[in-house]
């Protein structure tokens, strides 16, 4: 099908974009990469009266790293995040996870910040932000800038804390402290499809190589990214036991793609493998 009629705005500056959203936010949608929004428009699942296209805001097409973490601007495409060597060196989990977001062609257009705001429970990048305790920088005409931590940003399925008069201008992915290994893996019917279950893990070791902290974040296992602290469960280095513990905390749903029980089974298998890989990345 074809998208419904819409009034189109193409601001040249962020100031102009937030001014448009202040005036029209309730009936407008921000268009960045459009790889989720445009299918919904084409299928007429949504029909905003206005689109605020931010693709001219070239100043926001950045991926910057410093020793603390990685800053991703609103217009950075998934492919930009994937290719940025400095981002991979600072926060390896970014590339580990973004490579499993859809197909390369979609990653050429879709934006990382857009997928955070979209807040799909099957989306990889929301779980990455949640696992790393990252944050999203929002901007509106009314409040100026405000920063929302990941734990408060994902409100429900397809619902984030970004108000309709706000634009998400940047996401910040902090570098985990100390000697920390990370891993991302997921299972889907075909590469590039939505995952039936996906998990990102983070394992920190102390100077002796013993586990000091462990954590996992899951996608497709609940309404928002599910973060489970596994430090206590993983301290002995028994990855299967830790994975078992993680799966017990999850309450996935049945759908046409997989039963809840199968999803929990996948969580056990993938988490054990993922913790082991994250640990081995930093083990002495």
């Amino acid at each position: 099908m074809k998208p419904p009629p819409v009034v189109y705005h193409s601001p040249d500056t962020v100031e102009e974009a937030v001014r448009l959203l202040a005036e029209h936010g309730a009936e407008a949608k921000v268009l960045a990469g459009g790889q989720s929004l445009v299918p919904m428009l084409n299928m007429r699942l949504t029909a905003p009266a206005r689109l605020v296209d931010v693709n001219r805001l070239d100043d926001l097409a950045y991926v910057r790293s410093d020793r603390h973490g990685v800053h991703v601007g609103a217009l950075a495409r998934h492919a930009d995040v994937e290719r940025a060597t400095h981002a991979f060196e600072t926060v390896p989990l970014l590339r580990q996870a973004v490579r499993t977001v859809a197909h390369p062609t979609i990653r050429n257009r879709g934006t990382t910040v857009g997928s955070l705001v979209h807040a799909d429970p099957c989306g990889e990048m929301p779980a990455v932000l949640a696992l790393l305790d990252g944050e999203v920088l929002l901007r509106s005409e009314r409040d100026g800038e405000r920063t929302v931590p990941a734990a408060d940003f994902f409100v429900g399925p397809m619902e984030s804390a970004c108000r309709d008069d706000e634009i998400a201008v940047e996401a910040y992915f902090p570098r985990p402290p100390g000697r920390t290994g990370t891993d991302w893996r997921e299972l889907s019917r075909r590469n590039g499809d939505y995952a039936l279950c996906g998990v990102g893990t983070l394992v920190r070791v102390d100077d002796t190589g013993a586990v000091a902290a462990a954590k996992a974040a899951f996608i497709a296992m609940g309404p928002v990214p599910q973060v489970v602290d596994l430090t206590e469960a993983a301290i002995a280095g028994d990855w299967s036991a830790a994975a078992e513990h993680a799966a017990d905390q999850l309450d996935p749903e049945d759908d046409i793609h997989a039963s809840a029980e199968y999803r929990r089974h996948l969580a056990r298998v993938l988490t054990a493998r993922s913790l082991k890989a994250a640990y081995e990345a930093v083990a002495p």
Partner: protein, 166 residues
């Protein structure tokens, strides 16, 4: 109320083209209906099948998931631009012909554009890499074996053509 129209100017296959379109005009429909470039095919219209893939500033994108207005001022390459200067078959097209990489041909334009861009990035893919490179494109005829073979053959042809003759 009549829909507002926007002037959209793009460079397609090296030629500057313009047309006035409503904001909701998909890039694929702009190419086909407004510019008459019907080589780009629309399959699913929601980004799954890959038939409408074109190159935007050199990178493959789904033209059914971009509005023409968003592409204003950019450079596009469609399947019509994947041939040699003068119109002879490009390396990827030649390889599809040799390897029987198509049957009905509906999905082929998306494969040709995707593979053309991919070989710029990875001129010598392995069979596994070739298979992954076309992972975002659906074909309901061939079973993909011949398309994978065509990716590998296209890489060979491209190398042959780029090697200067002595």
């Amino acid at each position: 109320m009549s829909e507002q129209r926007h002037q959209v100017t793009v460079t397609v296959n090296g030629v500057t083209r313009r047309a006035e379109v409503p904001a909701r005009r998909l890039l694929a429909d702009y190419l086909r209906m407004d510019l008459g470039l019907t080589g780009t095919h629309l399959g699913c219209e929601h980004g799954v099948c890959g038939a409408c893939t074109v190159l935007l500033d050199g990178a493959p994108v789904r033209s059914c998931l971009i509005f023409a207005v968003s592409a204003d001022g950019h450079e596009l390459t469609t399947v019509e631009g994947c041939c040699e200067t003068g119109g002879a078959l490009g390396p990827v097209q030649q390889a599809f012909l040799e390897c029987h990489g198509l049957q009905c041909g509906f999905c082929t334009p998306g494969f040709i554009t995707t593979i053309t861009a991919y070989l710029e990035e990875n001129p010598k893919p392995t069979e596994e890499e070739a298979r992954e490179a076309i992972g975002g494109n659906l074909c309901r005829c061939t079973g993909y074996q011949n398309i994978v073979a065509a990716v590998l053959r296209a890489a060979e042809i491209k190398r042959e053509r780029e090697t200067p003759h002595e």
